[in-house]
Amino acid sequence: MSVVEPLSPLAGVLVAGRFGATGEDAVGISERRYDLVQVFARAGRSGDVVAAMQTRFGVALPGPGREGRAPMLAALWIQPDAWLLVAPRGPEGELARTAKQACGDAASVVDQTHGRCVIGLSGARAAWVLGKLCRIDLHPRAFGPGQVAVTPVGGLSCIVHQRDDAPSYDLVIFATFARSFVASLRHAAEETGYRID
């Protein structure tokens, strides 16, 4: 029941427009605002958590390197027996409360909606631009839609989530680094040019 709309760490920083080199190769950069909740299965309880999340959200919690998808929510594998729930913004804290209610003492639930920031990067040259910041192999045969990697990007801890084969990536980073990260991303995209949407 917040009366105040939460501010993004990128408020006033991501101004819409076309930047960098001109031409057909421009990639898209945008902030994607989600509710973000970490769910950690407690010792020996991952089966209960998987069942609870299936029942409550209709999502199959994925294994390493994968996403699980439900109509209104995605679950990204982030470490053994832990997932990041990604859902459209709802009332403050509600996703975390719902997840905790569903799992009870089978899981530890931590709201990271404000603690993480999600940057979208998309376009035919998005993998090339991301390759300037990130060591993993983004070739379609190695990394495709629905895949998730927890890896340094631009020197920062990041969750890379490929959403589609455009390709479009969601880059989940620590919120206090968001401006610095965007500066690195803009530098990397100078050569192809980029749109901020």
Partner: protein, 972 residues
Amino acid sequence: MTQPFRSAAGGRIDRTRLLSFTFDGRSFTGHPGDTLASALLANGVRLVGRSFKLHRPRGIFSAGAEEPNALAELRTGARREPNTRMTTAELYDGMEAASQNRWPSLRFDMLSLNGLIAPLLSAGFYYKTFMWPASFWEKVYEPLIRRSAGLGRAARAPDPDSYDAVHAHCDVLVVGSGAAGLAAARVAGAAGKRVMLCEQDFELGGGLLSASQHEVWREDALAALAAMPEVTLLPRTTVFGYYDHNVVGAVERVADHLATPAAHMPRQRYWTIRAETIVLATGAQERLIAFPDNDRPGIMLASAAETYANRFGVLAGSRALLFANNDAAYASFFALQDAGMAIAGIVDPRAASAGAELARARNITVWADSQVIGTSGSTALTGARVARRGGSGADTLVVADLLCVSGGHNPAVQLASQGRTPLEWSDALAAFVPGSSTLAQHSVGAARGVFGVAAAAADGRGWMGVGGGAVALPADDGAPGGMTPFWEVDVAGSAFVDLQDDVTSDGIRLAHREGYSHIEHAKRYTTHTMGTDQGKTGGLVGAAVLAAARGMRVQDVGLPTFRPFTSPVTWGAIAGPHIGKHFAPTRLTALYDWHVSRGAEFMETGQWLRPAFYPVAADADDWESVLREARAVRKAVGICDVSTLGKIDVQGRDAALFLDRLYTNTFSNLPVGRARYGLMLREDGIVFDDGTTSRLAEDHFFVTTTSTNAGPVMAHMEFYLQTCWAEMDVQLASVTDQWAGMSVAGPQSRATISKIVEGLDLGDAAFPFMAVGEGHIRGCPVRVLRISFSGEQAYEIMTPAGYALAVWTAVLEAGEAFGITPYGLEALGLLRVEKGHVTGAELNGQTTAADVGLGKMVKKRGDFVGRVLSQRPGLTDPERPHLVGLRPVIRGNKLRAGAQLVETGSTESLGWVTSVTRAVELEGWIGLAMLRGGAERHGTRMQAAFPLLDETVEVEIVSPHFVDPENHRVRG
């Protein structure tokens, strides 16, 4: 007449277009397709540089990356770039090039007099001459050496260009695009592999570029590769290093061939390539022969002269002589004859050879069983003296302005060797070739000693073992014939084995005589192979000279270890985008924009930018701002952004037990809704970190750490959970970024926040010191902790970061009536020193809990990390320095952190000052210190000495708790 040495036809240059360029201020022209070296030779320029140490005149020696002599500064101003090899610099219109290491001019170089005292500048001369007196080194010798011996000058202004870095992955990385490389890439591409082909030249083809008879095959191969979507061709890309697990580093010169990069185009790109398989088709490098004065301008590798003639349509001289021990060099020399060069003859140390027969059939004079024993000319070669080997017969003076040299060919094994492939000796080549690799690595073609275009292509297409047949081979024009090892002409004189570093064969022998006989020692003693060319043309020759001196075989002496960088790489490419403020990521709190709008002065603390203080117009100086902010906290209320505190969410059935084991004090008996200060030790018993931990539920804690140690504490916790206590049910999450924090401190802090906090009774009874609760401020969720760093009544308000500005603003409005004042890191530090709280200056990695007055926080029962080693005698010694407070006896005197505490009249340090500040609660300066005797010295006087500034201040030793030692205020 322009370009007098350009042939009438032939070569790969575009004769329809002229490019203008300057060298040392003189204007010349060349053509697209030229290098700076080929264009200079076309214009008859022979003298292009001075040598590193002796300032001897030097010319263009090679046609590629192995160039030792022809180094230039390119461009001017901020883009000036030293040590560019003219032989690889692609000519562009408007190029400005300058020679290096000469004064006042290239032709009249004063320091060439060094050549006359060369015997004094022998191997190891730096070590011998400049050992004493030590003070002379900095003032005299080093500036002298830097002025006289050197390479080019770096630009002084920041580089205006941008540099890019990229990671790439492939199934097959092919290095080199000669016949072997192209065939290897084709067969891999045809098999559906993801292929990257790196070529350091701006044109693909390697040796094929000098062999027009194979042009159709080359174009065919390139067209086939271009049609394969999974093949990436990277010309202008030098692979400089081969690292573990088939990771290689490469630099692509994206815009070096342009006067300035196009908008948004990087100047260079640093590639980190991870390849499943690496195919090294790096070719071979011709080597020199050591003979007296083998360094004059006009002396050139035979294959280079052929390249200039065939690829660039340039005759590198008017009348050519060849000195070679192998038939491949004859083929190069015949190409010069075919291009119209006047031929003086061939000098060959071999008594007979197939090459000599062919030469005589071409009416070329061959001096067999002979050698070049000297050369003439000053800034250009005029001739060579030829004599029979063994000293019989008279010398012949042969007039020539081009002396082609070839001592054989070394497979370019640098990358293979970096990739841990052992090298094996080939008697047929008198050179090292790659042995069998432990990695997925293949050397093909000349890189493993398979010479001849057709044979190399066949070798390249065969690397996969299958599929090679589909790739057609170029016409077989035969493999070059034999060679006989020949390293050095055995007559006295300056015979260079390393042209760039001015290392002679005598220098190598001197190193051996003086005990530097191991190849690695000889290298360091003489600087042999230490230049930008890494000894590509003379490295093995020097090793052979050393071997002869030691009475060993060259293969047993070996070569110095090959390491990156195989070719020079600019610092710009290595730094990439990480320059200036982009050196490391910057971390900003959610309130950063507010701090900026309020005119805060910022301070870098680790990666964070934090407000140091907020100056206002009335403040006379920085101190006044800080004191004003601190006074507001002591007298009324202040607010400080403490979002940078590390915050860790700890949950799980064993969360309390986990914290009990990590902290010196106990958390399992902490009630829900309460916070407790905690102290954490390292394994060795030294204090690691401190902070408050709140219990939000039986199985849920909210841990805070110092801003500095947020990451290390998280890592410490993860380490114990993952490696030592895997049986524990504990989950950790970093929530530093989730929660913005603000400290509202001062006698009016409760009055301030009571106005706005909803859903939480802040009354003293319901919410005492160290209470924790949740509520709302203007609808924003908040977590309120009644804790204090300043010693005043204080509350920390945590809110999800997106609400930070709303909550902060609400607190400011609520506190307006009390004169609420935002305070920065400086006032925060002042307040904590007054209160005697320790931070990084005291918890400096050397102090124990007892040292800093926190001995009571160490529990008597129960184990915890650091307990055992904290009980070592050295750490429990009562003589250890303990925390005390200080005040100058004359209150106006300034204290200085780092000062040593001594008794009056003594020079024995008994302690040191850790933190100082001007105070607001008391008059003048105060400080904290670590002092032997600690509390026993309270009330005594000592001297705080700072010898670096010749300062001594008399101080009074007092309790470190200057403010409210009984802690009434925090409870009030």
